[in-house]
Symmetry: C2
Subunit: 416 residues, 2 copies
């Protein structure tokens, strides 16, 4: 069987599994998840052993330490995984909710949520995505096809094996969760072309992966990830607040999509803010790249290029620019933003309203860190990714993002 | 300027226009629509004159009469167009609605609806789409780029000219509504590739157009149109009801997407139903193509092929098949349906529930005609098309389909 045939067979079984899954009640789905959480805890030794193989290969292949850390699973992390699954099990059922309305002619229309059907994930490195995505999909009545990266292949196989046997024990079709073990480019290409077989494809990973999926996939895709986020410190900002927010938004986890890459600061507070921000970030050696005014304020920093302003560093590097007004800040953000998250620190409500109303990003913050753009923080309970597109779902994707609409219309011989 | 540069320039002005449009209140947008309706009525002579040129060209090019009728505008139809615009003006504002919730940490999250931005339409023949789409887009705060078919170019130019000058008089940027006058393939290709310039592209027209857009567009698309709809007459059906629904669902407007193409009938009622249905449709010479059992019941009809069951005839032709049970009916529909609309006639509620629960189409009817799948009939007030996809919007697309989400988050120095 070639790569395409293998993927086609997996998609066909997933479709059949999704039909049987649609017959399970919310209670049955939740119970299956609780059993999966338990089984994962009970299998931690096997999972850690498989993960050790992946880490061995990673070291042999020269993977850098921060990436190895993202790959690593230990008892504590497996406990977290199990806890996350239990949390998802306890969320309200996203399926079978909706509204009823009756038309003037007496037609009764039920608009209800149903599973998308078959969800596919193409992702890199982090083995956490495997149990996370599986739980969110099962909870929402969807079958899921997982195509993880080769770095985590043994970890993924071990986790999926536990999930599939638990599903079987619960009377579910084990093909509700399937792993494509072929980690060549052919298998991801085949998945991307499987129109009719895959109802939505969600990529999670670096820019290269996202770009490749968005450009090549013929199945519906939800674009995730790109976060060229900004912070604007207004002349009416509480500078202490601006500092703690800036440090959190840049330095708490620089490699995530909701971390800021550029700080814009009103020229009237630029000197005080930038000097304090610079000094406060020497412990992590945050590298500044600035406009000419910033270079005057912080001698020794490099000059920022146009390319820098457009770059998502994902690292301890930040661009900075002094601006004349909130209008100039908004112009800059409109030019460079990827539509993810932007924040303004100000006590001036008109400035705040102008900022939040004029920028077309998914999340606009007033006096808070962009790091809150997250399903858990938004109260969605869980998250399968953060969408950076406008259609279907925007921002953190919770369970309802994995559903679509069905209309059931009851009449009494109605004709039109 | 070549086709691409021309389209790019139009997209750029539309983007600028959409920014200024986002500053207009709902009241201002509604008022502009009322003025547009008035202006279109006042310009009916000019519009009809332009339309006459299109009709002249259509006749010269051998366009068939049913198509000419779709192209034709007269006083009555222009009055209908104006009435439809006034109706849209009076609908609730779809922008700036949403919910507020406060998180345990005190973050106040406002989830609100905002315009998509720039909507593009590629459509064929019917000049009604021009004022319909323009009104729906203006109402929802979106700029719209219209790429109509060459058959209606003069009608479209005349209508758009009235809309643009009225927008100007109302203090709106006239580029909120733009017509691509170049009706070559190059211009639609350019529009389809304009990533970043177009937020959503909606095709309206025949299968060839839809397929071409869905396969080639690199901008977000909402797939419309494909309606291989089914009617299943169950053994517990009220046969009189089944007949009137079947006649309505097939013959009232055979060329629309919500008309049925196949009728499935339980073998125990097949003879009575089919003979009565056949006799009742001699006035329109409805052509039947049937399974072997149906061919026995209606001697002289052709045998239906697998291809027939998959065909959207859009004409006075219907496939028919006798089945053993609702299960067989559902199997058939699952195989051939395009996910649009299906109907069951039955008094058996378990059959009805099985039917509506097991078929993955956007609209499932019990004892009513599939012809109700329509924005107006569903109470959406207006409709920019009927989506046959699962993401973003499914079924009739009202105003909210032209919006996306924005989160505005207010904190007090919150960090994570």
């Amino acid at each position: 069987m070639n790569a395409y045939e293998n993927v086609k067979a997996i998609c066909d079984s997933a479709r059949r599994a999704s039909l049987s899954l649609s017959k399970k009640s919310g209670g049955e789905r939740s119970l299956a998840l609780l059993k999966i959480a338990e089984a994962i805890l009970n299998s931690s030794d096997e999972i850690i052993k498989a993960n050790a193989k992946d880490l061995e290969n990673a070291v042999a292949n020269g993977m850098k330490e921060s990436m190895q850390d993202r790959l690593m699973l230990n008892q504590a992390r497996i406990k977290d995984i199990a806890r996350a699954i239990i949390k998802i099990a306890d969320l309200p059922d996203p399926i079978g909710t909706g509204e009823i309305f009756t038309r003037p002619n007496g037609l009764e229309i039920h608009k209800t949520s149903v599973p998308l059907g078959v969800v596919a994930m193409i992702y890199e490195a982090r083995p956490n995505v495997t149990p996370d995505a599986s739980s969110l999909c099962i909870k929402s009545g969807n079958a899921v096809i997982l195509r993880g990266g080769k770095e985590a292949i043994n970890s993924n196989k071990a986790i999926v094996s536990v999930i599939r046997s638990t599903l079987s024990e619960c009377g579910f079709d084990e093909n509700c969760v399937a792993l494509i073990e072929d980690t060549t480019r052919e298998s991801s290409n085949a998945l991307m072309q499987m129109r009719g077989g895959v109802d939505v494809l969600i990529p999670r990973g670096g820019k290269g992966l996202i770009k490749s999926v968005v450009e090549n996939a013929r199945v519906p895709v939800i674009e995730t990830g790109a976060g060229n986020c900004h912070l604007y410190v207004d002349r009416c900002a509480d500078i202490d607040m601006a500092l703690s927010v800036a440090i959190n938004a840049k330095c708490s986890r620089p490699s995530v999509c909701n971390a800021i890459e550029t700080v814009l600061v009103h020229k009237s507070v630029a000197e005080e803010f930038l000097q304090r921000f610079y000094n406060a970030t020497r412990d992590v050696s945050l590298e500044f790249r600035g406009c000419p005014v910033c270079c005057d304020i912080l001698p020794g920093i490099s000059e920022a290029t146009e390319e820098d302003y457009a770059t998502e560093y994902d690292d301890y590097i930040i661009s900075c620019k002094a601006v004349d007004s909130v209008y100039e800040a908004v112009e800059h953000i409109r030019k460079y933003s990827t539509g993810h998250s932007e924040s303004i620190i100000t006590e001036d409500s008109r400035c705040a309203d102008y900022f939040t109303g004029s920028i077309d990003s998914c999340s606009l913050y007033v006096n808070a860190s962009t790091r809150f753009t997250d399903g858990g923080e938004f109260g969605l309970g869980a998250e399968i990714g953060i969408s950076t597109q406008k259609l279907h779902v925007r921002g953190p994707m919770g369970l309802s993002a994995l559903t679509t609409t069905k209309y059931i219309i009851k009449g009494d011989g109605h004709t039109r």
